[in-house]
Symmetry: D2
């Protein structure tokens, strides 16, 4: 069974800014999709923000195993309905890889529950991502560190929950550090935040970065069937209790009534 990866991109800078277009003429999504297509059992497609429903109708998400998300200047224009739809699919088991400036996307903030804020500087400085666990699936095929000659700086504090695992920590020439690779589990879904990816540098052309993206898709894939009623809160009636019990005392709900939510 192939893993169905969907690369989502805001796709604005590439159409508006000459520098970005020169690096990503067909959009960041096209370059990432090409990187993923190097893995034979990945089935890769793309979607962009200005398509109807941002290219993410329900049936599309239902057929997606892992979603990659790149957004920046138009976070606010993403529809809340679509955000809830994506969050629900993550809870059901879809993997999600949030890239770079996606830290401030609605979907990432929605799933983290925190501000997801950080410090930043766009100076083309050197970045070095250190692998904290060299044996982590996401790090395979990459050396002890990844060096990027030009990068936007993101600095701590990064306001996210403690992760399940810290996979990468970045060093920046200008003196800051950042937790650049973090894993989370939310419901049945796995989430990987991966920092690199500023649009004015050819980050997604870097072979190590492409390797990490491929690894991350495989890591985030949950082969279990979608947990469709993950958000339901079913009543377990007295006569269906695993152990025999009898109704005692006063009750607010009538038999068979649904719970409040």
């Amino acid at each position: 069974m192939p893993i169905r990866a969907l690369v989502w991109n805001e796709f604005r800078h590439e159409r508006e800014n000459e520098t970005v277009r020169s690096i990503y003429p067909d959009g960041i999504h096209a370059v990432i999709a090409a990187a993923l297509a190097e893995t034979p059992d990945f089935q890769v497609s793309t979607a962009t923000q200005d398509e109807p429903e941002h290219g993410l109708p329900q049936e599309r998400l239902d057929q997606t195993d892992v979603l990659l998300w790149w957004g920046h200047k138009a976070h606010k224009e993403v529809s809340d309905t679509v955000v809830e739809r994506v969050a629900a699919r993550v809870h059901q088991g879809m993997g999600l890889i949030v890239l770079h400036s996606g830290h401030f996307s609605k979907i990432f903030k929605r799933l983290m529950g925190t501000p997801c804020s950080l410090r930043w500087r766009e100076a083309g400085e050197r970045e070095r991502l250190w692998a904290v666990n060299r044996s982590h699936p996401v790090v395979q095929g990459v050396g002890p560190s990844i060096d990027l000659p030009n990068a936007e700086m993101y600095g701590e504090p990064f306001l996210v929950p403690e992760p399940m695992e810290t996979v990468f920590i970045s060093w920046f020439e200008g003196g800051e550090v950042f937790r650049s690779g973090l894993t989370y589990q939310r419901g049945a879904g796995r989430i990987f935040y991966f920092r690199p990816g500023h649009e004015t540098y050819p980050i997604y052309h870097n072979p190590d970065i492409r390797r990490v993206l491929n690894n991350a898709v495989r890591w985030a894939y949950n082969p279990a069937p979608a947990w469709e009623d993950v958000a339901a809160a079913p009543n377990v009636p007295v006569d269906k209790a695993p152990e025999k019990i009898e109704q005692r005392g006063p009750a607010l709900h009538r038999p068979g009534e649904e719970g409040f939510r």
Copy 2:
């Protein structure tokens, strides 16, 4: 310096249901507030949902160290504006204690990023909360377990993120289990979810439950000054970088420009 605890209650069942009123004639909030008032250095007040702004205007929250939240049938009527206001204060350092059916409150789901769903049964069955760490501050003064003769059942799976600490796990007569005491850190704020509290049983009159509530307020209190700009993402200009660097390569943002969000 006293710890300023604010007990928030939906306060509907007590006014509408005779059984609930007989247990909590002045409201669940009144009984919890009385429990907290037993601790000399707590300064306790209450607020209810049907007050203007749900009793939670900004200045009130700014003067609150720990907020306790009981809601059930009217979660949906809580204003999103107030939910965001509370979330922001938690990120800045306010403690939050979410009680019982508050698992489905907007504020808890907002901070967890998950469905917060569970299974339930209202049969007045026996519950026993086991302390997983007997030396945890929240458990002090309570024995190895707390026995409740009549309780609503909540059963796993409970769809929340892995907690910082599992403090209590419940056994139910009908055969289920539940993680009944969980701690989280979100931004500068500490969160404690505490399961007991069904409105048709006198749970908040139980001395052990009252002790846990008192302990939890102290545990959730962060004496650090409010982290007011916790959600800001300030630019660190090149000439303010901790290490001397020079601007290199192309940039999207002009000097001094704000970031996107």
Copy 3:
């Protein structure tokens, strides 16, 4: 590439106690090995405590991907040398599945750093293991809970570190609860503790338990090459620093000297 699973058993009760022998005539290891052999790409073998070096010479461990450990009455007789050898292999990436009374094995205590103590009762009572995350790889093919008609009780508090994930929580007829499935990462190795397995009941003949064991072997398998120098603390000399720096100030170590340990 097959996954090489090695089932290790103390193998004393089966030779000394008629009840245990009647359930496991060839030893618990034989039954578990047969369960794992149902998965085509597993290559399964066994070792027992009374073999030379407990059946765990270095070359054997070097060719093991996942080790399963069942011990009880002879924990103290396990050689410290072998324990260190196993711990080193886990740090390098070998998976480890610790079963039932293995909670008090030297290797589990060595890797947890805590007492690993608990409460217990051998009364043949009912146990029900609830899956906390139904989409976890370890839980696939098993329903929302696993019911065991007769089990030894283990009760909280269970003195282990907070796990990476709580996978199962047990309900016991006698009123206790227990975190029965817990995951850990230690170095490059994944560890799964799985509670069921008392020797006087046919636990490892139960299809659900067998499914979990198979799932757990796959989950614990780390395909990355062994991290052989995981315990080394190499010096990075000044002229090999990623960034150009110059030696400054006093130093304790002479150039090229090894660090203390």
Copy 4:
């Protein structure tokens, strides 16, 4: 009630090396103890490795709330008996602060269960510790970062378990990063690892470092009474089960018999 802090030091370099002696003429422990004595409710004492029982007889540890540990060249000479004694006290609730080269101490490796290895360089380079959570109790009174003009470098990967919280991450002039402040809970005891402290630089004279040490002692202090039987695994006989049950099926242990360990 004062908090009883005990500063433990190997105290070899200061007696053997002129550079170290010039910075710490009475030993590193004396300088740290003086730093802690600035807090009125701390009751501070010291112990060194070459005292009988390393200055850590049982009764001394029983009267210690928080132990600070500095060791380096003589880790191997620390008695295993004393290490087990300290570990047992941590499990019972004593706080432990492990400093700098103590990452390779027997007690830290004992409590972590991992190699605790890292990369290092002694070049007097610049270090900057970034606070990941500015509102954490350990960070109070310190700015967003602590700058050290001369430090030994420690680099990732640092082979420790995922922490409860990452409090500090260090940037090094030579290009590496390190998780320099990490919290753990083991049994009833809290552990803080704090990286700075190389003996050839006046690190413990730095006011920010002294502030962190004071904060860490308060954070690590557990006011709960010592959990004396934390390592015991008591049998709960059938007639003492919280729920009424009857003995069923075969049993290995006779009534009242102790468990194996």
